[in-house]
């Protein structure tokens, strides 16, 4: 097969070109269908139970995505509570309400929420908190006094220090976040205010992120291409030789990305990095071929013959390096995070594609070159390498490694020990907002707002009550009572009993209405008696089903809130208990001592009915369902770091263990901040699995390739040392282990093994041909070492354009890419020969018999 491929490439280069061009054209057209996905929720599979629950909760309590407008006034003594600031806020808020796509009824701002307060003795008043903008300073500070009595608003709509306010703008669809935030921006421009305005919120952040991702793909990836081109030009001094690998790289990137978008996958932060990963990897193989061809070609020779020989010669190591790299990325499939899986699959695909293109397109390219250029290429590329700085350094380091084999090994072991200590210090943490650079407006808004407020990050603890037993008992008892009743009355009621009871509010409402109707129609005292019993039973069951109206349950929830507040892990929590307390206080005269939960269920129910008599009755359903079977403790966090979230989760778990939940209650977390924790946990466990899986497969492949378990193990050394080293550094410098860091392990695996394969394969063939370890090593540190070093440098520098990317994850990847290349290059070129210097006999037992190591251990070459 190998030969027929080469044959086709050399004999019918036009066909190869045509096929590749057609593929590129088709897939290139598919790139137009690109869909950007920046929703962190998609880190979890759609059917993942926490995600499913989170979505159910969003629907249950009608949570919308919201743009957050922050207003800060640090200078005025009354903070935001001055005529000018509130006037501007009022104007802005009203203007936003008129924008299309804003869910007006749920917009939260000082001018759109209600106040309940005393108006003289025995009178309560429901009114808009700030229907009109204040005209006098007293009116402005009056609003402060009102807000300070409304715990649901304080520290949510206005900061505790009074210096900042927010407008929560719920939007109908995420797609609108960009145009709407632009509109709001324009409105702010017109405001004529000296206050600082910030626009943030998850949809805005996601949108900006998507935009920056395009920038990265449109600028950083081509920049990387350019960088690689220049580097190769420097090394090979022949544009013609360098253009071919660039063509392979571009074709690889375009076909892979075209396929990805064409197959309907969305481009997530991970997949947006595919081009930048594929570019250098694709170049590597072609560089191998081109440089070997340049070495082997003599002017006047038949290029077809030469290139066929070269490809034939390099086929196996290239296949294996490609396969192992692909395995490294395919192992990401073991991490159950869809964007990571897609990333792994398409990078693996790209690597294999690059291999195929290399062995087809490069020969075709060479065959199509005119003989004059070929001759030039051969002469130009050969001379400069043997006496460059790189060449001299490599020779020297090779000698050094051979001479101080055991010392170097000892240092390596020490390094590994230090790295393992570092790995133990790794903190797993991520926060999508931190994907923006520190001076990014979103990052700034995040910092400022969380300085003033109880937190702009949300998570929910959802409590749900379902007493199946009580409900069944009620249904059974009702049927039993209905046995005594004429069908005329009982049939409609039985139909109601048989209805789906998902919404207990509707279910009991319908049932009681039917019993009520039957009661009106019934004539006989016996029937009336039965119906009255049934009614009493139904009313009791209904009241019992409204579980989160029970004073004791609300007290329990208040207890959780107090504990959370004391713990310091949560900025603030809001619940239905707060609502009940506020309304109760105002109903009972406004004294702070009445800020409590009334003693009976009817009292709570009537209190809540009063709350519902406001301008925004629907606000209640953000914290409890209309049938009162489920309630949410809405928590605000000052940071979106999932470490902080995890602390709160652990704290609540401990609290629940000490203060058990009432019976039949299910407690579950939801909210974006929580979802982040979930996928982080999934990722860490998954990455470990991926790494182990890849490690095992790569080892088996190595053992197979070299037909030796010992050499297989030996080949794993560079990548093991590199992975340990890189993560050790991450641990020691205190960089959080986040998603980009997590995928680096696969990358390392794929690239380091490449060096090891080439190094071992060449060493072994030199060893065989020379029969002397010393001689083999000397040969090794000529062309092969240079090729490895060049590759390492090309890739490392090729990633540097990422330093200019607008988003932190890309910068991280760029930085660590360079580190990985450096480290794996050094381990391959220093540690491997060092190990061989004293363990060579164990590694190559067959050579031992031939006395290859006789001198090597004590006397290196040139001695």
């Amino acid at each position: 097969m190998k030969h027929s491929i080469i044959h086709v490439s050399t004999e019918r280069p036009r066909l190869v070109y045509a096929v590749v061009i057609a593929l590129v054209a088709i897939t290139g057209a598919l790139i137009g269908r690109i869909q950007i996905d920046t929703d962190p929720e998609n880190m979890l599979p759609a059917a993942q139970s926490d995600r499913v629950f989170h979505n159910a909760v969003e629907e249950r309590f009608t949570y919308h995505d919201a743009i957050v407008v922050g207003i800060v006034n640090e200078t005025h003594p009354d903070g935001i509570y001055n005529v000018e600031s509130l006037g501007a806020l009022h104007r802005l808020s009203n203007a936003i309400l008129a924008l299309d796509g804003v869910i007006a009824p749920d917009l939260a701002s000082l001018s759109a929420v209600d106040n309940i307060e005393q108006e003289g003795v025995g009178t309560i008043r429901f009114e808009w908190l700030m229907r009109e903008a204040p005209i006098t300073a007293e009116q402005a500070t009056d609003i402060r006094d009102k807000v300070n009595r409304l715990p649901l608003l304080k520290d949510s709509l206005v900061s505790g220090d009074g210096k900042a306010a927010t407008i929560y703008v719920p939007i109908a669809s995420k797609d609108l976040s960009y145009p709407l935030s632009q509109d709001i921006h324009a409105l702010i421009e017109e405001l004529d205010t000296s206050d600082d305005y910030h626009i943030t919120g998850l949809p805005v952040a996601e949108d900006t992120f998507g935009h920056d991702m395009f920038v990265q793909m449109g600028i950083s990836a081509p920049l990387a291409g350019l960088m690689i081109f220049i580097l190769m030009l420097y090394f090979f001094r022949s544009a013609q030789l360098v253009i071919a690998p660039m063509l392979v790289a571009m074709a690889t990137v375009i076909i892979s990305m075209g396929l990805l978008t064409g197959l309907g996958f969305t481009v997530h932060i991970m997949s947006s990095m595919i081009p930048i990963f594929l570019m250098p990897i694709a170049v590597v193989d072609s560089v191998h071929i081109m440089s070997e061809f340049a070495d082997a070609y003599r002017p006047g020779a038949n290029p077809k013959v030469v290139i066929s020989r070269v490809v034939d010669h390099l086929f196996k190591p290239m296949l294996f390096t490609s396969l192992t790299s692909a395995v490294g990325f395919l192992s990401l499939l073991l991490t159950p995070i869809p964007p990571v899986q897609i990333f792994g699959v398409f990078v693996a695909f790209g690597i294999l594609l690059a291999f195929v293109l290399t062995i087809t397109l490069i020969p075709a390219y060479i065959v199509r070159m005119n003989p004059l250029s070929l001759d030039k290429l051969a002469t130009r590329s050969k001379t400069p390498h043997t006496d460059t700085l790189l060449a001299r350094t490599l020779r020297r380091s090779g000698k050094f490694a051979m001479r101080h084999g055991k010392l170097i090994t000892a240092f390596a072991v020490l390094g590994i020990a230090v790295s393992i200590a570092g790995i133990n210090r790794i903190e797993i943490n991520d926060n999508p907002v931190r994907w923006f650079k520190e001076n990014h407006p979103i990052r700034v808004a995040d910092t400022v707002l969380n300085e003033h407020f109880a937190g702009t990050y949300d998570a929910f603890v959802v409590l749900s009550h379902d007493d199946k037993r009580a409900f069944s008992e009620f249904v059974v008892s009702s049927h039993s009572l209905l046995d005594n009743l004429d069908d005329r009355y009982s049939t409609p009621i039985r139909e109601m009993l048989a209805r789906d009871a998902d919404d207990k509010g509707a279910w009991y409402g319908n049932l009681i209405a039917h019993i009520d109707d039957a009661l009106f129609d019934a004539q006989s005292p016996q029937a009336i008696g039965t119906l009255e019993r049934l009614m009493a039973l139904a009313e009791d069951a209904q009241v019992a089903s409204k579980y989160f109206q029970r004073p004791d349950v609300l007290e329990y929830i208040s207890g959780i809130q107090r504990a959370l507040a004391d713990s310091g892990f949560v900025g603030k929590s809001n619940t239905v208990a707060d609502v009940v307390k506020v309304v109760n206080r105002e109903l009972r005269g406004g004294d702070d001592s009445e800020y409590r939960i009334p003693a009976t269920v009817p009292a709570v129910a009537q209190t809540l009915m009063q709350y519902q008599s406001s301008h925004r009755p629907q606000d209640l359903w953000h914290i409890v369902t209309p049938d009162f079977t489920s309630t949410a403790i809405w928590m605000q966090f000052k940071s979106g770091d999932n470490q902080d979230m995890s602390l709160a989760i652990d704290f609540l778990d401990t609290y629940i263990a000490e203060n058990p939940l009432p019976a039949d209650i299910e407690m579950r977390w939801a909210g974006k901040t929580f979802i982040n924790v979930v996928w982080q946990d999934v990722m860490v466990a998954g990455m470990l699995k991926s790494l182990m899986g890849a490690f095992v497969v790569v080892f088996l492949m190595m053992a197979f390739l070299f037909r030796s378990i010992r050499i297989g193990l030996f080949a794993m050394v560079p990548l093991s040392v590199t992975i340990l080293g890189v993560y050790g550094v991450i641990g020691w410098i205190g960089k959080d282990y986040d998603m980009p860091i997590a995928v680096l392990s696969s990358l390392t695996l794929g690239l380091s093994i490449d060096f090891a394969i080439h190094f071992i394969e060449r060493t072994r063939s030199f060893l065989r041909s020379s029969g002397s370890f010393a001689a083999a090593e000397q040969q090794m540190f000529e062309e092969p070492a240079r090729a490895i070093a060049r590759n390492a440098i090309v890739i490392a520098i090729g990633f540097t354009p990422l330093f200019f990317a607008p988003l932190v994850p890309y910068i991280t990847v760029g930085a660590f890419m360079a580190a990985i290349m450096a480290l794996s290059g050094v381990t391959t070129l220093i540690l491997l020969p060092a190990l061989m210097s004293w363990a060579g006999q164990w590694l190559f037992p067959e050579m031992k018999k031939r006395g290859a190591f006789a001198v090597a251990a004590t006397r290196p070459a040139h001695a």
Partner: protein, 393 residues
């Protein structure tokens, strides 16, 4: 502990000592009748209590009652009128109870046809506390609560025609108004309810609508039987309803055989329930009972129930009975164990007959198993011990 059940015993002793009905007045009123009426019966107090509370029920006890039984026969002419009635107070239901267990008129038509009309307790079939072709009403609540075994069989209003002949004996019972079992309602015992995924104890208690009272909804039961060389053969047929809710219309056909085998008695019985809702059932029973030692009998049964809608249920039962001291002491243990459902029910009892008047019984009902929904394990919280004191007169 709740003292009320103990107090219940007091009126009983008072009743027992100066029973106003015991002598004189009634005897004189009725005693002069030609046929003569003999009044007999007993007064009994019973108290049963759970080992654990059932969270679903307020009352920890399973049995709190005094009852007074009157029995009599009266033969005006060719007719025999018999009466068995219970009066009493039930502390669990907190109500007075009066129940007629038997009030029948029996007479003979022609030479070989007996007719028995009225409220009566009936039973047939070969099983020991396991019923296949016996589709007469059962009172499981009494059985589990610790009442006398007698009360497992519940009375029904029926007409029974029996024809004796050399070739074949025929029993035909017509119960004009369907008489269901006394099933678990959640009043005395909670029961498993699938939608709740657990036990429930509704108030008011569970009751299922019974079939309308019309002729075609009556129950018809037929037995043809004959003994040939000490082997009893019987064939059965039934038309009516399943005896447990939801009272699905059904027909049943079955057969049984019983004969001495070795030192004991072996029996086999089978029955097929052809159910209107399509959920047909096949029941099969094998049993063997023998006196292993003097005064010590052992009974073993294997029972199989195959139903379309459920897994096949296998059950093994074992009865051990030991009588001592001229039957003054009776020790007994009845065990139900189902390997398929992995649940069990143990009924140990000890009876002491102090005199012809006084007898005492202590016993227990122990339920258990692995899965909440199985028949016996749903009653795990109902496991109880009981004491009954009976005074015969």
């Amino acid at each position: 502990m709740n003292l009320r059940p103990l107090l219940l015993l007091l009126p009983l002793s008072a009743l027992a000592q100066d029973d106003p009905w015991d002598d004189g007045a009634w005897e004189e009123d009725w005693g002069d009748e030609e046929q003569g009426m003999v009044w007999s019966g007993f007064a009994e107090a019973g108290l049963g209590t759970r080992f654990d509370t059932d969270e679903l029920l307020d009352n920890r006890n399973t049995l709190e009652e005094v009852r007074w039984r009157i029995e009599s026969d009266w033969q005006p002419g060719d007719v025999t009128v018999s009466l068995k009635a219970d009066l009493g107070y039930d502390g669990i239901e907190e109500d007075w109870k009066a129940e007629i267990r038997d009030l029948t008129a029996t007479f003979t038509i022609g030479e070989s046809v007996d007719l028995k009309i009225g409220r009566q307790v009936q039973t047939w079939g070969t099983g020991d506390l396991v019923f296949l072709n016996d589709l007469f009403p059962k009172d499981y609540v009494s059985f589990f609560a610790g009442r006398d075994d007698e009360y497992l069989k519940a009375p029904g209003d029926a007409i029974r025609v029996t024809k004796f002949s050399q070739a074949l004996n025929v029993d035909f019972v017509w119960t004009p108004v369907f008489e269901p079992d006394v099933y678990l309602t959640g009043e005395r015992f909670s029961f498993y309810f699938p939608p709740a995924d657990g036990n429930i104890a509704p108030t008011p208690p569970f009751s299922a609508p019974e079939p309308d009272k019309k002729f075609s909804n009556g129950e018809f039961a037929l037995r043809l039987y004959r003994t040939i060389e000490s082997t009893e053969y019987a064939f059965y047929a039934y038309r009516g309803f399943s005896k447990q809710p939801m009272f699905v219309p059904m027909n049943a056909f079955g057969a049984s055989i019983r004969r001495p085998l070795g030192t004991g008695l072996a029996n086999a019985e089978t029955s097929f329930y052809d159910s209107r809702d399509g959920d047909d059932q096949l029941r099969f029973l094998l049993g063997y009972e023998w006196e292993a030692r003097r005064n010590f009998t052992v009974g073993l049964q294997y029972y199989l129930e195959r139903q379309d809608s459920a897994d096949t249920r296998h059950m093994l039962t074992n009865r051990l009975t030991y009588r001592a001291g001229r039957d003054k002491h009776t020790w007994s243990l009845f065990t139900f164990y189902s390997p398929s459902d992995d649940d069990y029910y143990l009924r140990p009892t000890y009876s002491y007959r102090h005199s012809d008047q006084w007898s005492f019984t202590v016993g227990a009902n122990l339920f258990g198993g692995n899965e909440q929904h199985t028949f016996f394990n749903q009653l795990a919280d109902a496991s109880n011990a009981y004491l009954r004191v009976r005074f015969h007169y």
